[in-house]
Symmetry: C2
C-alpha cells in the first residue's frame, strides 16, 4: 500500500525542524564570528576554506540541471550558475568572494591555489557535489533549502564584519550584499520546487534527509575550519 | 617518456579526418531526405526521434558544465543550455523543435510523450549523455565538434524541406533557421576549447576518439530511424 504524501504544511514543518535543530548559524565558530571574537587569521582561514565551497556551488547546480529532464525547470535553476560564475560583462559570486579574500589580505592566487583548504572541508564539499550528481533532482534541490532557515544570517554577518572586523576593507563585502536579497529568492524558488516535485512520501522523506545531510556538511566545514584556526585546548602535559 | 603533443594543424587535421570519413551527412537516410525521397511518415518519424536527441542536449551540456572546474569556461559554455531551453521571455531550440513537429502534423503531446522513440535512438542518445557525464570535460567538449565538418548541412536541409516537403508548414522551420548561424558559433567555440585544453597527446587522442564516438552515435540514430520508417528489403520468400 502506498503511503499518502504529507500535506504541504506538514512537509514544511518537518523541513523547518531540521533547520531549527542543526543549521550552522548555531555552530560555535559562527557564534564567535558574530561576536567579533575571531582573530584575523581565523577570519582569513574561513574566507579561504569557504571559497572551496563557493567554487563548487555552480558545479553542484550544473549537476542538478543535468539530472533534470524538464526544460522549464532547468530554466528556473540555471540563473544560480550565472549568479555565481558571472557573465562576460558582470562578475558573479565567485569573483565577489575573491575580492572578499583580497579585502581580508589573502592574495588572489592564494585563494585560487586551494593550498590552505582543510581536508575535512574538501571532503564535505565534495560530498555535496557527489550528492547532487547522484540523487534525484528534486531531492538535490531540497538540499538547497538551508538558507530558508536563517534569512537574517547574511545581515547579521555583514553587521558583525562592519562592527568587529574593521581591518577588513569595506569594498570586500560585495558578496554579503549580493546575498542579502539573493538568498531569499533562491530559497523561495527551491522551496516551491521541493513542495511540488517531492510528491511521494518517499521523496518527501528523502528531502528531509537531504536537509539533514546539508546541515551536517555545513557544520563539518566549520568544524574543520575551527580546528585549524582557533586556539585549541592546552597541550597535554606528560 | 611523455609524448610531445601534436601541433594545432596536425590535431585539427586528425579531427577533420574523422568528420570527413563518418559524419552523418553521408548517411543514406540523410541523402534520401535531401533528395526529397522520404515519405511524410519517415519525415515525421525523424522529427519525433530526433526530438529525443534535442531534449538531451542541454542535459549533456549541463554535465560538461558540472565537470568543468573553471568558471571562465563555464561562462563560455552555459549559453548552449540557454539557447536550447530558452528563457522566460524567449523560447529556445526545444520549443522550436516542438513547433517543427506541429508543422509536420505531429501533435505536441505526441512529441513530448516519447512513445514513438526507437530503442536504438534512445540507447545512442543516452550513451552521449553518459559520455559527457564520465569523460574529462575537454574530451566531452571535443565530441561537440561534429558541426564543424558540415557547416552547410543545415542550409541544405532547409532548402530540401522548402523544395521537396512543401506539405510541412513554413513556420515550422524556425529551428533550422536558428541553427544556420548558431551551429558555426558553437563549433568554433568548441574548437578553440579543444585545441587549448586537450593539451597532452593523451587528451588529443581522446578528443579524436570522442569525435569518432559522436559520429558513430549520430549514425546509429539514423540507422534506427531508417529501419523503422523507410521501406525495407522485400520479405524473404520461403
Amino acid at each position: 500500500m502506498t503511503e499518502t504524501p504529507w500535506d504541504n504544511a506538514t512537509f514544511l514543518a518537518r523541513l523547518r525542524e531540521v533547520g531549527e535543530r542543526s543549521y550552522h548559524d548555531k555552530h560555535p565558530f559562527h557564534r564567535l564570528m558574530n561576536r567579533g571574537q575571531l582573530s584575523p587569521e581565523a577570519i582569513r582561514g574561513w574566507v579561504i576554506n569557504r571559497f572551496y565551497y563557493q567554487t563548487n556551488i555552480p558545479i553542484k547546480d550544473a549537476a542538478i540541471l543535468s539530472n533534470c529532464p524538464h526544460h522549464e525547470i532547468r530554466r528556473l535553476w540555471i540563473y544560480r550558475i550565472v549568479e555565481h560564475d558571472g557573465t562576460q560583462g558582470e562578475e558573479g559570486g565567485i569573483e565577489a568572494w575573491l575580492r572578499l579574500g583580497t579585502a581580508c589580505g589573502v592574495p588572489r592566487e592564494e585563494m585560487l591555489s586551494g593550498r590552505e583548504v582543510v581536508p575535512a572541508v574538501r571532503y564535505a564539499v565534495d560530498a555535496y557535489v557527489h550528492f547532487a550528481r547522484t540523487q534525484p533532482w528534486p531531492v538535490a534541490v531540497a538540499s538547497s533549502l538551508t538558507e530558508l532557515f536563517a534569512p537574517d544570517l547574511m545581515a547579521k554577518r555583514l553587521e558583525a564584519f562592519q562592527t568587529h572586523y574593521q581591518w577588513v576593507e569595506l569594498w570586500g563585502f560585495d558578496y554579503f550584499n549580493r546575498r542579502l536579497t539573493q538568498a531569499r529568492k533562491d530559497s523561495q524558488g527551491a522551496l516551491e520546487l521541493t513542495l511540488k516535485y517531492c510528491s511521494t512520501v518517499e521523496l518527501q522523506k528523502a528531502a528531509v534527509q537531504a536537509l539533514v545531510f546539508k546541515c551536517d556538511l555545513l557544520w563539518a566545514i566549520l568544524d574543520g575550519i575551527e580546528r585549524k584556526y582557533t586556539p585549541s585546548e592546552p597541550p597535554l602535559t606528560s
